[in-house]
């Protein structure tokens, strides 16, 4: 009796993958700029048009530096929205990173409900390139709604929430818990479309030290210039010879 061939799962549906594999790329993905992290993410980058949960013990542990290469790769005409950040953003920092500060939009609603509304409007509008949304307690329905709104756009949508939210369910297909670490940030992948990632790994972030600023003297042009070619006797300039 002939046995039916086992169909290859990719031929059944493109969104199907084995539990031991990373999910194939489904939408647009933006490279994170950190090879170690890229290797662990389905689609080899941050998924655009999808809710990405970043869980932080407290703000300022390197989360922005982690996102920085992806934000820098956005086209210049698309804005980066900082929605309800815990502290006022520093323009000088973005300038030092080589990002145009005019790209930034700082949205500070007065009430948490306004922040969720603003996030949904920004996602629906779709003109911005990235949305970084800080929010402490979010109802599950709110998360689902934001995830749905994100799916209709191609915005990089990160939700930065306290670590306490790690235990709660989330519709986000990608959830990362960040911990401060020396020279980088320790990442635990709580949820991804792929096999369980048991071990947290450290993503080294580039050192904060900038290349040494040249000494003030070296700002001036050097005096060693090539001397003008010596005029040869007996040869007139073409203008004179005319």
């Amino acid at each position: 009796m002939p046995t039916l061939p086992v169909p290859v799962h990719e031929t059944i549906h493109p969104a199907l993958w084995r539990g031991s594999q990373l999910a194939p790329r489904t939408g647009r993905c933006v490279a994170t700029g950190h090879p170690r992290l890229d290797a662990e993410l389905p689609g080899r980058g941050w998924p655009a048009g999808s809710l990405v949960d970043l869980l932080l013990p407290r703000p300022g542990i390197g989360e922005i530096r982690l996102l920085r290469p992806a934000l820098a790769s956005l086209p210049a005409h698309r804005r980066i929205v900082l929605l309800q950040p815990p502290l006022p953003p520093n323009i000088a920092c973005w300038t030092a990173w080589g990002l145009d500060p005019a790209q930034l939009l700082w949205v500070r609603p007065r009430q948490p409900a306004d922040a969720l509304w603003a996030a949904e409007q920004i996602l629906k509008n779709g003109s911005c390139g990235a949305l970084l949304h800080w929010q402490a307690p979010v109802p599950h329905s709110g998360l689902r709604r934001l995830h749905l709104a994100a799916q209709s756009s191609d915005i990089l949508f990160f939700m930065l929430r306290p670590s306490a939210a790690a235990g709660a369910a989330s519709p986000a297909p990608l959830r990362l818990a960040l911990e401060p670490a020396r020279g980088g940030v320790r990442i635990a992948l709580l949820k991804r479309r792929g096999p369980v990632c048991e071990q947290p790994f450290i993503v080294p972030l580039e050192p904060e030290r900038r290349p040494p600023v040249p000494a003030p003297l070296s700002r001036h042009a050097t005096l060693d210039r090539p001397a003008p070619a010596p005029s040869e006797p007996g040869r007139l300039a073409p203008a004179l010879a005319g």
């Binding site: 922005i64 804005r79 953003p89 700082w106 609603p109 509008n125 904060e208 900038r210």
Partner: protein
């Protein structure tokens, strides 16, 4: 309706009670006590005529309001092909005027004066449309003399000599007629027959939009005001459509009760970053702005005044999204966010050239700007977040403490600036690290003893 204490217009119901034009107020009150008498309001009449003129500007840029009589003359010679012929155009024009709640009659003729005479022709189901000049004269000849305004002072005399129609008038000897009457009469007659040209004064529509909507009852909930506001903004959009313009600032006035509890109207301003002309673009910001507004008193009327207008941007019909369309979308997003969060809720970077971090880090509600050149970059990467105001740190054993004692990693970077204004700053900045390898940007005040340490920034 009374003008100068005499009845000038009346409803059929009043006529059935015996009221007649020309009666005095006392007479009307005596024979029909139940009749409501209203004073004639020339300003309201003119406003209605202006509204009608604006409505018919849709068909032609050349519209004339006849002075003293309630008629509009449209030069439609150039518009016939566009609107599907004279019959269709006439029907559409009548529909537009009817939509304003006005009753009108339409006459059509090759000459403006002729068309006006035909429109004024009394009676139902009479011919009012003539398209060719040879057919016009016989028709005009049958019209009664009183239709011609210039004949007004001489009507009795004309009646006495048996001259009842314009045809009779035309057959009179011209020289005698001109001597006995004014030259204006002959001119008007000639103009109607197309033998003399008339002056033409184009109706110039006002350069801004002003409209008002009375509410039938007192409204004290802000969401109930939305309906009249939507109505006004729909009218505004129609008005903008006619002119191919877009609005950049809308001012709604919510008028409150008059009398003893009179209050000035509440003004509701909607500034748009992206000029809008479609109701769906106005709708969102308007809804959010209104939800943020609390009404101090019941509202009896809503007005809309739009003075800030911009030309519509030229649109490119592109298949793929282009940056310009994204910028437009972004402008609409900003309008929407500002409407709900307030102007201060949406900030854009406006860096200032200053060495003091808190001065350099300026955010504005307006468009992003950068004043002057940026200060030279510091030797270390600046922190991602700035605390405002800086947080005073505890000092334990001469070391600043934030959770755990901080270790200075980099520094000092000395900032001494601002002696020209109040905030003279003498600081040494350090990058510090706590025992969990989180970095902070802290500073020590140099002019304080013992040293005070402040946390000023966090590295993202």
């Amino acid at each position: 309706m009374l003008d100068d204490e005499r009845v000038v217009a009346l409803t059929p119901a009043a006529a059935r009670q015996g009221v007649q034009p020309g009666m005095r107020r006392g007479g009307v009150a005596a024979i029909a006590p139940g009749v409501l008498m209203l004073e004639r309001d020339p300003a309201a009449e003119q406003a209605a005529l202006d509204a009608a003129a604006q409505a018919v500007l849709h068909f032609t840029p050349r519209v004339e309001q006849a002075v003293g009589e309630h008629s509009l003359v449209l030069d439609i010679g150039a518009s016939l092909a566009l609107f599907g012929g004279p019959r269709n155009l006439g029907r559409q024009a009548l529909a537009r005027v009817r939509a304003l709640g006005l009753r009108s009659r339409l006459g059509m003729a090759p000459t403006p004066a002729g068309a006006r005479l035909l429109a004024c022709r009394p009676g139902r189901r009479v011919r009012r449309r003539v398209l060719r000049l040879p057919a016009l004269s016989p028709l005009l000849d049958t019209l009664p003399c009183p239709l011609l305004p210039a004949a007004g002072p001489y009507l009795d005399w004309l009646d006495n000599i048996g001259c009842h129609t314009l045809g009779d008038l035309r057959r009179l000897p011209r020289a005698g007629l001109q001597r006995r009457c004014s030259p204006a009469l002959l001119q008007a007659l000639d103009a109607a027959h197309g033998r003399a040209s008339e002056g033409w004064r184009d109706f110039v529509p006002p350069a801004h939009f002003l409209d008002r909507c009375e509410l039938s009852e007192h409204v004290d909930r802000s969401d109930a005001v939305r309906h009249p506001m939507d109505h006004l903004s729909a009218r505004l959009c129609a008005w903008l459509d006619e002119r191919q313009l877009a609005a950049t600032r809308l001012v709604f006035g919510l008028e409150h009760e008059r009398g003893r509890h009179a209050r000035p109207p509440t003004s509701l301003e909607l500034a748009l970053a992206e000029p809008a002309w479609l109701p769906q673009h106005l709708d969102g910001p308007l809804r959010e702005r209104l939800a943020r507004t609390a009404l101090p008193a019941p509202v009896i009327a809503v007005s809309l005044d739009v003075r800030d207008l911009a030309a519509r941007p030229d649109r490119n019909a592109a298949l793929f999204p282009d940056p310009a369309a994204i910028a437009t979308d972004h402008g609409r997003l900003l309008d929407l966010l500002r409407a709900r969060l307030g102007a201060e809720g949406v900030a854009q970077a406006a860096a200032r050239a200053d060495h003091r971090p808190e001065v350099a880090n300026t955010w504005t509600a307006g468009p992003p700007a950068s004043s002057g050149r940026a200060p030279p970059p510091p030797s270390v990467e600046p922190p991602c977040w700035l605390l405002s105001p800086p947080q005073l740190l505890d000092v334990r054993q001469d070391r600043p403490v934030h959770g755990s004692p901080l270790r200075l990693v980099h520094g000092p970077e000395r900032i001494e600036s601002g002696w020209w204004d109040r905030s003279w700053t003498l600081r040494d900045y350090f990058v510090a690290e706590d025992d969990r390898a989180v970095r902070y940007w802290i500073y020590r005040e140099r002019d304080a003893d013992p040293a005070r340490w402040f946390l000023h920034g966090m590295f993202g």
